[in-house]
Symmetry: C2
Subunit: 341 residues, 2 copies
Amino acid sequence: MVSLKDISKACGVSVATVSKALNDHSDISQETKKHVREVADKLGYRPNAAAQALKTNRTNNIGVLFVDEANSGLTHDYFNHVLDSFKRTAEENGYDITFINSGNKRLNNMSYLSHAIYRGFDGIVIACVDFSDPQVDELIKSEIPVVTIDHLFYNRTAIMSDNVNGINELATYVYEQGHRKIAYIHGKESGMESSVTKSRLSSFYKTLQDLGVDIPDEYVPAVPYRDTDAAYEATIKLLDLKEPPTCIFYPDDFAAFGGINAIRKRGLRIPEDVSVVGYDGIELARKISPILTTMVQDTEQIGSVAASKLIDLINNPKGTIVEQVVVKGNIERGESVARIS
Amino acid sequence: MVSLKDISKACGVSVATVSKALNDHSDISQETKKHVREVADKLGYRPNAAAQALKTNRTNNIGVLFVDEANSGLTHDYFNHVLDSFKRTAEENGYDITFINSGNKRLNNMSYLSHAIYRGFDGIVIACVDFSDPQVDELIKSEIPVVTIDHLFYNRTAIMSDNVNGINELATYVYEQGHRKIAYIHGKESGMESSVTKSRLSSFYKTLQDLGVDIPDEYVPAVPYRDTDAAYEATIKLLDLKEPPTCIFYPDDFAAFGGINAIRKRGLRIPEDVSVVGYDGIELARKISPILTTMVQDTEQIGSVAASKLIDLINNPKGTIVEQVVVKGNIERGESVARIS
DNA sequence: AAAATCTACTAAATCGTTTTCGTAGTTTCA
DNA sequence: TGAAACTACGAAAACGATTTAGTAGATTTT
């Protein structure tokens, strides 16, 4: 590898001068800068990230913690869209993205925090994890700049999808279409309730209460997120009630697919007999017939705001205010909710 | 940060001894090792990746290039499953995963190769890119260990999903169900044909030829991958032929959703009137009704084999043979192909 | 013309590791 | 008992960059 020393020899100037020339310091003449840069190009010089990091304590590398119970969040279509957008914004700003993990055998079973310190990440973004994990807590309490997505920690910047408004818009829309018997098969995590779930659920109750609609308890069962089979079962139960709902909300579009199957299995039509509402706005939701009524979360915005805010924090660790950014989604009215009278 | 020097002071031994003790060298006594490790733990020591990399020329970091036209491959459900599996295997072996990118403004608009050298990746995995990109070519020709996924380069190890066998199994199955008028709306990339497309197409022709089935040219239109709208249009055209097919293959499950919509729009039933065959085996394919007949690509295996082979190459850059690994998929017979007589 | 100020550069320390080469001190062997 | 062989450790160089403090020489100021 060609290093500063090689350039310095080829140019007949000191290593210090080469470094400064390449970094455009003010105490180097224009001619020298030009010359050094030409020679650097000619020799095919590329800086060495490790050496730079060692010296400057900056890696220009951001750690990403996207882990759900089963897999990494990579296969989760909401989170991978968020990550995709995050990555784009980060890279535009000169940062690379590396996944944080734990339990590395080579490294003494490092925790998330140890791993982050080991790699020297300038900042960290956390999403889609079990937020009650003590290792996550350790990260949150560390010195490293952190933003979280869809979860609010004390004293940490958070980017949140606007679940309160999302459910509110959906519920209001459904109400306006004439529905009064509205069920909400809502999501649940394996552990305790997440803030996402809580926000949505309370918004659901609040919205309908404000509209004067009463929701019986059996209209609000819980199933795991993205579990089509559980959603199927829960739907069957709802349809079997003496007073079945005319419209069913699902925790996510994925689960809604399970519900759709259940409804059709019962020989009922969508939306004429039962209306269906999803959440997320995954690509396929718009590709099926009827087009799914759902809340399209603004993954683009969430990801890029998260990256920008994190970079702000990195560049100004003490001065930047901790904030909570709420990103609104866009309702997709679709075709799966009927107008009834 | 606590460094070897701190431990060395606390233990009353030299830095060299500390390093060797932690790395379990043989010329350090058991007692010293024990003592050093205890003190290291007590002080909360974590190695510094940058310093290690600088000294050893090993980063334990693998570069990932997953880019398609629009986005990173992150939002592509086949590739993100592959990546997820790759990541898991790599991490189990002590490697981290960082995305390769190019055009970083901070770094003089680095190419992929420059970026890889800058970060000192021990190895690189390439998938889902425009393989005709000169920058990709530069990577392939570099000194860095590389494996590619679903594309074969001369002199580089490649992991390929078995598209020949995949299409063969599907076509044979459909034939056995009695179909003779079989169309294949096949995928096409924006640039030239990829090896994936070529393999599938030639396997389709070969299989049916061997079975004595004749395929008219108008049965084999091309549409972009994952484009539901284009698949919709192509399907409509097929249905409008004087002799419409009884079964239609799609480039992927996604596109198949477009086809399903078209068929239903025409008032036809699936599979009674028209049978549908996808490719990929995305999660939702099993969640719709009728369950989609498709080829489930073994993303788990592809990802983990890619990681293992890459790590072999890293550990033995010269000795390891370049190979081409073909990974078979599993047919999902589903419910979208009818038995006809 | 001496003093002060600039300009453009360099030497050297440093970041945190790893590794080579020595070397005291102990044990083994002839 | 002296030579050979081990054992357990340390000093120092090196990896490739950045940065501080210093300094010749030219230029400006008084």
